[in-house]
């Protein structure tokens, strides 16, 4: 459902992605891991057109992602994104955040959108926060609202860019819990994360990126338990045993 073929991307003379080829099937959960600056966020941002890419192809359900084409709007309504720093709209209530896309982009009737938003908020455990404003919520709560906002678009896939990295450690679990439930329900997910436990237990496949190339990929247990590449082994050792 998402396909990358030889994707290259440079910032000026600095090549961030050096020919990325990968695919994500419907219902699959793929985790992207790798050191800081390796290009993980850039991959996600290219998939939903927040960044352009220089060459290669990215296809979403067979449709080519082109940041400057009108079709990008329809691609973005099919592929939602959850950000490291939540990026909720602080001037709107939780409920308004969730219905914003359905009502104003997809032009759904407001009543229906509100009904669904309340179900989604209940699903992420925040039914009683519907009328709160995002700054009044904890980081974990904000991220769960952001997930509900992504789900409200009824997307075919959701991209997560380090969804728990900005959270206090004790709040990480509640967000990962919601994500695990989504995975169990069959949502297609691409997750950039440093949470190796999540990758091992929830992901079907793991991609290890370093220096803009996919160094190693495969079923999550294989890559994480028996990494083949020296660079993967080295990275995992540093993540799992930082001291």
């Amino acid at each position: 459902m998402i396909e990358l073929k030889g994707v290259r991307k440079s910032y000026g003379s600095f090549e961030v992605l050096k020919g990325i080829s990968a695919s994500v099937e419907k219902g699959e959960v793929v985790c992207i891991i790798g050191p800081s600056g390796s290009g993980k966020s850039t991959i996600l941002r290219c998939i939903n057109g927040l960044e352009s890419y220089n060459s290669g192809d990215i296809l979403v359900e067979g449709q080519r992602v082109d940041r400057d084409a009108r079709s990008i709007i329809s691609i973005r309504t099919q592929v939602s994104m959850v950000f490291q720093r939540f990026n909720l709209f602080p001037h709107r209530t939780v409920l308004e955040n969730v219905i914003e896309g359905p009502v104003f982009v997809k032009k759904e009737p407001r009543r229906e959108a509100i009904e669904r938003a309340r179900l989604l908020l209940a699903q992420v455990g925040l039914a009683e926060k519907a009328d709160a404003y995002p700054p009044q919520l904890s980081g974990g709560q904000q991220q769960r609202v952001a997930i509900a906002r992504a789900l409200a678009m009824q997307p075919k896939a959701i991209l997560f860019d380090e969804p728990t990295s900005a959270l206090d450690p004790e709040l990480v679990g509640e967000v990962l819990g919601v994500m695990r439930k989504l995975a169990d329900d069959g949502m297609t997910m691409v997750v950039v994360t440093h949470e190796m436990g999540f990758a091992k237990e929830v992901a079907d496949r793991v991609l290890f990126i370093d220096g803009g190339v996919i160094v190693e990929q495969g079923p999550s247990k294989d890559v994480l338990n028996q990494p083949q590449h020296a660079r993967t082994q080295d990275f995992l050792r540093r993540v799992l045993h930082p001291l």
Binding site: L50, S80, M81, F89, G101, M153
Partner: protein, 217 residues
């Protein structure tokens, strides 16, 4: 004091006619400068170079020419080009254009202060440029922009007196005319100053209100 009150009773009706024009010029040019300023500001933050540079050029030209010269241009030169305006219209347009540059810089600062993540979040749910502006960026920018906007309003109120240079008989000119025909300079100009002050006070309170509000999270 009694003399002053007698003068006040005599001159106030004429001065209030000036006040009416002052308010008209201020509100008219405020609306025009706000609309134009918004246009310049949104062009200025465009990712398309040609658009943002055009806007930067316009802003610099406007800022680089004294308001009074802009007024002369619109009132005295435009008729030669086949566009004749009443003095009042010329004053509103001239001040509106002159102040649009300052409004634009203020609006731009407000827009640019909005976290880039907000724009990305808006785009990621499929919003186009205009909807992102209208639903996400501008509503948040308004809070940042309001206190300086209030200050601009106060300056515009006072600068509306420049309309007198193209014969608009607003408060300052009205005062000058009365003073020069009655020689009661003290009474007349005290009244004029007080009237400006009375008009400024609501604006000053407006600024204070939003500065307090803005300092809260």
């Amino acid at each position: 004091m009694q003399a002053f009150l007698r003068d006040a009773a005599e001159f106030l009706p004429i001065l209030l006619e000036g006040v009416r024009l002052t308010i008209l010029v201020t509100i008219g040019s405020l609306i025009l400068s706000t609309l134009l300023g918004l246009v310049w500001a949104m062009m200025r933050v465009s990712s398309i170079k040609a658009i943002s540079q055009t806007s930067a050029g316009i802003i610099n030209v406007i800022r680089g020419i004294p308001i009074i010269v802009q007024l002369f241009y619109i009132y005295f030169v435009m008729p030669d080009l086949g566009v004749s305006l009443t003095a009042l219209q010329a004053a509103i347009i001239g001040l509106g254009i002159a102040y649009s540059a300052y409004q634009a810089e203020n609006f731009r600062a407000g827009i640019e202060a909005i976290d880039k993540g907000q724009i990305e979040a808006a785009q990621s749910i499929g919003m186009g440029w205009w909807m992102t502006m209208r639903r996400v960026v501008l509503p948040q920018a308004v809070r940042l922009v309001l206190p300086p906007y209030g200050n601009t309003m106060i300056m515009m109120l006072k600068d509306s007196s420049q309309a007198s240079t193209i014969t608009v008989a607003e408060l300052a000119l009205q005062g000058k005319l009365i003073a020069s025909s009655t020689f009661k300079n003290t009474s007349v100009f005290t009244l004029v100053a007080l009237l400006y002050l009375v008009m400024s006070i609501p604006l000053i309170l407006f600024v204070r209100h939003f500065e307090k509000k803005g300092s809260r999270p």
